[in-house]
């Protein structure tokens, strides 16, 4: 009895420091955002007042909100499947017997360890009109003067290409781990039966990698809602919000327009999206993985 009580005390004491910080910087701010979203912003003249769903009504009528949400969906659609396909290809190649495997793997993985700010700095020069590398190369063929980042039709494509370059190598790692967990006996059996490489991949490897694919899929989607660093360098969300994403808009509303109630309302939407993705991950994935 005495000893078992000590177990509870020790357990909680060990957990306490981490628990305090987690509550202070994860749980409390999530709940505080929800609460603030029902109040008006505090100003010099008026204190913060309960306004019910007014902030949500403002949001529903805000064309910028719908635009950034749509952008975010397109950003996810543009980056996630392409990154996954490239990541699988990379992993298959690096897991095979190609010469110089270590160097190839390093080349694929390097963008992962670079900060997004540095990546954006480098790519900004590619996309610059006239003096940029792409325009310089194109001018050799008589094509000139594209403002790649300055036009609504091309800006999102530019961000997508760059993000794929940055992230594919990271997802490759998960596929490498998945591939190494596949028993070599499968390949021997497939070879004995005369199955070709593609057939073996489609019928054996790809299905076995399904949990990895789901894991990468969900995490890539979460990333596409969390990763906005590049916007600060490349576009500032422009032109006319054509490249803005939800988290970037939250930043603008909070720290440029100084409307913390509306920022909190937008944060609630972002949290809801992340929660849906997390629940999706749980149902698709976690029940197949045994933690114990």
């Amino acid at each position: 009895m005495h000893r078992s009580l000590l177990v509870h005390v020790y357990g909680w004491l060990l957990l306490l420091p981490a628990a305090v910080l987690l509550i202070a910087f994860t749980h409390y701010p999530a709940i505080a955002s929800l609460a603030q979203s029902f109040f008006s912003p505090k100003s010099a003249l008026y204190p913060s007042q309960f306004v019910g769903l007014d902030n949500y009504a403002t949001m529903a009528a805000d064309p910028v909100f719908w635009k950034v949400l749509k952008n975010n969906v397109w950003f996810a659609v543009g980056t996630v499947p392409a990154s996954i396909v490239i990541a699988i290809t990379m992993a298959l190649w690096v897991n095979g017997r190609i010469p110089g495997r270590g160097l190839v793997r390093m080349a694929y993985f390097t963008p992962t360890i670079l900060p997004m700010i540095a990546v954006a700095n480098i790519w900004l020069f590619f996309y610059s009109p006239d003096i940029g590398l792409i325009d310089q190369v194109l001018s050799n063929f008589g094509i000139r003067g594209h403002n790649w980042l300055g036009r609504p039709e091309t800006v999102m494509g530019c961000l997508i290409v760059m993000t794929i370059w940055k992230e594919a190598g990271f997802f490759m790692i998960f596929y490498l781990a998945g591939l190494q967990a596949i028993s070599p006996e499968f390949e021997e059996a497939a070879t004995l039966e005369g199955a070709g490489r593609w057939h073996y991949f489609r019928r054996v490897v790809f299905p076995l990698l399904m949990p990895t694919t789901l894991f990468v899929l969900i995490n890539a989607m979460i990333n596409s809602f969390k990763l906005v660093d590049q916007l600060f360098i490349l576009t500032k969300g422009g032109p006319d919000n054509a490249s803005s994403l939800l988290l970037y808009y939250i930043y603008q509303v909070a720290f440029s327009f100084l409307d913390e109630s509306y920022a909190a309302t937008l944060t609630v939407v972002l949290l809801a999206i992340l929660a849906v993705l997390a629940i999706g991950q749980y149902f698709l994935l976690e029940k197949h993985i045994h933690y114990q």
């Binding site: 910080l21 390093m106 590619f126």
Partner: protein
């Protein structure tokens, strides 16, 4: 025989494909090196014998306090990792070996942070930091990340695989709870600490949004924020100088990666599988 030849050809095509993709993948970085080490007029003129120069680095260093930014990032990363090791070790130990009341619920609440990283909650966290008077301080940047759900999770998994017999043996020898942690659990989890350490250092070396929000002076700004201000198009700094500054900022991590490539890849893999 013909099957073998077909396969050989297929492998050859795959090798070429793999190398082509690798070349495409290093090209942007290779280009950054080119423009940083050559005078501006060679930025888009690729001549084998173009003169090399370090002027771009010299100018970048003279125009912005990069040494100070380096120091800030170094302090930030060290502070964050040290606190993470301590907090996550204690919490991971609690979850792995103590059947305390409310353990499952507490663990589920910890995992929430895997989905809701602090950078999503910049608005409220900024408010908290101003209440705590920690705006524009390095601890203010580090604090929301110190209790890391990811670290707690990894260490819990690692501690769970330690055989209970080892703990019993240590207890028979009269070791207390914390002694057992230090003598048995921590040494056996060393690869996990390395993996988590590498992932955490690269994450915080590169982190941007929250440091941008919470800092506003040279004395606290980490490299990423300093670099973003330096490289902003409206700053009007010349291209090769920006690339030189960019390469400087990523150099330590890049160098460590090239030297310890295997450890990096294995760490990210280990941390990713979970």
């Amino acid at each position: 025989m013909s099957v073998r030849r077909g396969r050989g050809f297929g492998e050859w095509v795959e090798t070429v494909g793999a190398w082509l993709l690798a070349l495409i993948w290093v090209a942007p970085l290779a280009y950054a090196f080119w423009s940083a080490f050559h005078p501006p007029e060679y930025a888009t003129h690729f001549r084998l014998l173009a003169p090399l120069t370090l002027d771009n680095f010299r100018i970048a260093l003279s125009q912005a306090p990069f040494p100070r930014y380096f120091l800030n990032t170094f302090v930030l990363v060290t502070m964050t990792l040290t606190a993470q090791f301590v907090l996550c070790t204690l919490a991971g130990y609690a979850f792995a070996r103590f059947e305390f009341f409310g353990r499952e619920l507490a663990f589920a609440l910890v995992l929430v942070q895997l989905m809701i990283m602090p950078e999503v909650l910049i608005v409220e966290n900024y408010r908290t930091m101003s209440t705590l008077n920690l705006v524009d301080t390095i601890p203010g940047i580090a604090l929301p990340y110190m209790a890391s759900a990811f670290g707690i999770f990894l260490l819990r998994q690692a501690f769970k695989t330690v055989p209970k017999e080892l703990e019993e043996a240590a207890r028979v020898e009269g070791a207390g709870m914390l002694q057992i942690l230090f003598r048995v659990y921590i040494p056996l989890a060393r690869p996990v600490y390395l993996a988590y350490g590498l992932v955490s250092v690269s994450y915080h070396w590169n982190n941007f949004l929250w440091p941008l929000v919470i800092t506003n002076s040279v004395e606290t700004r980490p490299l990423t924020v300093g670099l973003a201000i330096f490289g902003a198009p409206e700053s009007g700094v010349q291209w090769p100088i920006i690339t030189a500054a960019t390469l400087m900022s990523v150099a330590p991590l890049l160098l460590a990666f090239v030297l310890f490539q295997r450890q990096f890849v294995q760490s990210f893999m280990r941390a990713g599988i979970r």
